[in-house]
């Protein structure tokens, strides 16, 4: 099954081109152009990985990260920015970002980060499933 990702970047042409480059690498991409739309879309769909631009109007990437982390704590989020200051990176990581990349990112490096983030999510979900099964077994004394 294809990895399903969400990209939020207000720079429309960058967003569209990056989406196409990921699609030719067998990634399924949903594009949105604001932090607000990213939060709304993340609530509706369970994405494997989310990529957020830091600087977006109204709801910034960091605001969107906070909101998405509240509703989808397991979804790994990669922050992408053209103004990668150390402060942005630290703040994003503190807020629970999986990783941070500076624009223009190398596509192979981004692919690597997407795969790592996806594997991390899968492993995390697997651990939760096992814990739930164990809990059921213990509750019933099996």
């Amino acid at each position: 099954m294809k990895i399903n990702i969400l990209i939020a970047d207000d720079e429309k042409e960058f967003n569209e081109t990056l989406s196409q480059r990921l699609e030719v690498r067998d990634i399924s991409v949903t594009s949105v152009y604001s932090g607000k739309s990213a939060v709304a879309m993340a609530e509706k769909i369970d994405f494997d990985v989310i990529i957020l631009d830091v600087l977006m109007p109204e709801v910034t990437g960091l605001d969107a990260l906070k909101k998405i982390k509240n509703t989808k704590p397991l979804t790994p989020i990669i922050m992408l920015t053209g103004a990668a200051t150390v402060e942005n990176a630290i703040q994003g990581m503190k807020l629970g970002a999986f990783d941070f990349l500076m624009k223009p990112a190398d596509i192979e490096l981004l692919m690597e980060k997407i795969h790592t983030a996806h594997q991390f999510k899968q492993a995390h979900e697997e651990r939760i499933r096992k814990a739930e099964i164990e809990n059921i077994l213990q509750t019933h004394g099996w």
């Binding site: 720079e11 042409e13 196409q20 480059r21 109007p57 624009k103």
Partner: protein, 217 residues
Amino acid sequence: METSNKKAMFFGKVTASVTHEIQNVLAIIKETSGLMEDFILMHKTNQVPDFDSKLDKCLETLKKQAYRGVSLTSNLNGFAHTPDNIQSAIDICETTKKLISITDRLFKQKNVSVEVCECTASCSITTDPVIFQMILFSCIECMIDTFQIQQLMVNIHPKENTIGICFSIGDENFQYPDFKEKIMQSSHWSKITDLCEQINFTAGMTPGSPKIFILVG
């Protein structure tokens, strides 16, 4: 704070915004050329549907971004040369348009579009070009930060020996009963009046309509 510090802060803010924009242009160019490379590589082994039109679209994007980059860098270069002389003759319309073109991203971040109405006559003045641009920028920030607006209009009216620069809210039907009070309370307003005093300009508000203006000359 000293004027030289304020000038440095203003330069930092504008430069940060425009270089961010240039980085975006370069990021698009990089991704678009990468996408072309992807298509060409795929085409060698597999037939890519609409290969020619896909390449044409990429080339169109590259051309558009190259023009955008050239415009940004030439306006930034012009801006960088403004402190060369303490006093210089400037065209108010041109300077206003160029300043807005390099600071546009800062306003778009606040979801506001700023438009300069076409000037009907040439409006030149000899003044401190940096302080003049700081006044323009502060007036725009004052209107945007004080009111929840989506559009701001900048009109330049030459009249006899005076030139008026007017900043008004795009939505003319919207009512702002306490406009004057809110502007007066804004931290930007005292900054505007201080800067105007330094170069003998006058800042004011139009009674009964949500506009602020600067009188030059």
